[in-house]
């Protein structure tokens, strides 16, 4: 089966714009809001959301990048350790509403890691979750607050989100794993 294109550049942009509006609609107090992207796809998505939120609200907004590698629950499985990249959370998370951002929501395990990671920085007022694609197959009780698109998938498929910053184009595809 050939790769299916789920979203093109325009569709991605429209979804991201809508999510930015929804985040602002739900969180009137922009000063109390912070956007934290999960490396690496989530960080690109977060960057775009931040630009749009700044544009729509005319206000600066706190932001950060989270690397969840050190919190993974599969590290003890045999094999080379995944390379760790820097986590950058330079603001005080206490009493803030944190919007975690990831490109694809799948089993929910990454989000579990990210929740632990954020809480190690302090006690936020609340944590919300924004994802571009929700592909189902949850293994943990985690539900997103903001979704770009729900895509029913089977387990032997993979969802890839490309961002022009890293891959030279904006596109979401579903491909079958051989």
């Amino acid at each position: 089966m050939p790769n299916k294109i789920i979203m093109n550049s325009d569709e991605m942009n429209r979804s991201i714009t809508r999510i930015a509006h929804e985040i602002l609609e739900k969180n009137k107090d922009v000063k109390g809001l912070a956007i934290v992207g999960i490396r690496t796809g989530g960080a690109h998505l977060a960057e775009r959301l931040i630009q749009k939120i700044k544009e729509f609200s005319k206000q600066e907004i706190s932001s950060g990048i989270l690397d969840i590698t050190l919190y993974r629950d599969d590290l003890s499985e045999v094999g080379p350790q995944p390379n760790v990249k820097e986590t950058k959370i330079d603001f005080d998370v206490t009493e803030k509403t944190i919007v975690l951002v990831d490109d694809v929501l799948f089993t929910g395990r990454t989000i579990r890691c990210a929740l632990d990671g954020v809480i190690d920085y302090g006690r936020p007022k609340s944590i919300e979750l924004a994802v571009l694609i929700d592909r189902g197959h949850r293994e943990l009780p985690i539900k997103p607050d903001f979704v770009g698109k729900n895509i029913p998938t089977s387990r032997n498929e993979e969802v890839r989100v490309y961002f022009s910053e890293e891959h030279g184009k904006d596109e979401v595809i579903v491909e079958e794993i051989k």
């Binding site: 690397d67 050190l70 919190y71 080379p80 350790q81 986590t87």
Partner: protein, 319 residues
Amino acid sequence: MTTAVAATKWTKKDLVGLRDLSREEIELILDTAKSLQEISLRPVKKVPTLRGKTIANIFFEPSTRTRISFELAEKRLSADTINIQAQTSSAVKGETLKDTIRNIEALKVEMVVMRHPASGAPHRLAKALDVSVINAGDGTNEHPTQALLDMFTIREKKGKLAGLRIAFIGDILHSRVARSNIWGLTKLGAQVVVCGPRTLLPSHVEELGVEVTTDLKKAIKGADVINLLRIQTERQKECYFPSIREYANLYQINKPVLENAKSDVLIMHPGPVNRGVEISSEVMDGPFSVILDQVTNGLSVRMAVLYLLSGVRNSGGEE
């Protein structure tokens, strides 16, 4: 700093020396240390990465800095730790090194951090045991994590290592710190010069690709970094040099000597320092000194080593 080695994967069970590592592996450790640096700045200075793993720190030689640094690094990664000092262990009752470690392994320890007075001791253990072995200093051979933290500190301050001139002053002959640094720095493209009294310079050291001199002025001219080694005053009994006072006169780094150095030179020292012997107090506490940064960076570097090694298991030990 950009990470150019994202594709490198760590596959070694042990860290016994920088002699055995490739340039890419050294850079992977340094990059990983950079990523782990911020953990020590958080309100909760701990990540769950090594939860449920046990690490034994076995020191057959006295150590304060290195032992505390390893233990803290282990704790920041949530590992459980046990500390064994040779003076209080069964080693004094005649148990062999291998038997001591075998017993610790039977307690299901995953990693062993060891300092030992015999050069090559960790290499033998690494071969004999399934668990990961980290060399925390073996005789006069290597002290890899010290060299890695020195390199990390230089990279933090200067933004690079390649092309820099790094001078080591003092007792090169007995220095495992110098030896590890020479292996690492030359692999990363730095230019190394070693300087000290002739009796404290190992013969054939130039074969490692370093410049050798007994003239302090020559060594520090154009140096980007001056890394001082402790004058092991106990060696003085072995008559390597006439007196501490004469050594200080000829090789001490003090303010007048630094007038010949670059204006942005870094002064480093692995500690413990003999103030007034290899370095004057004025310089040690002065603006060029990054001696305390080295201590801070040691933590991140050791966390990086523990993290990377924790993913690798041996399929079976060999005798």
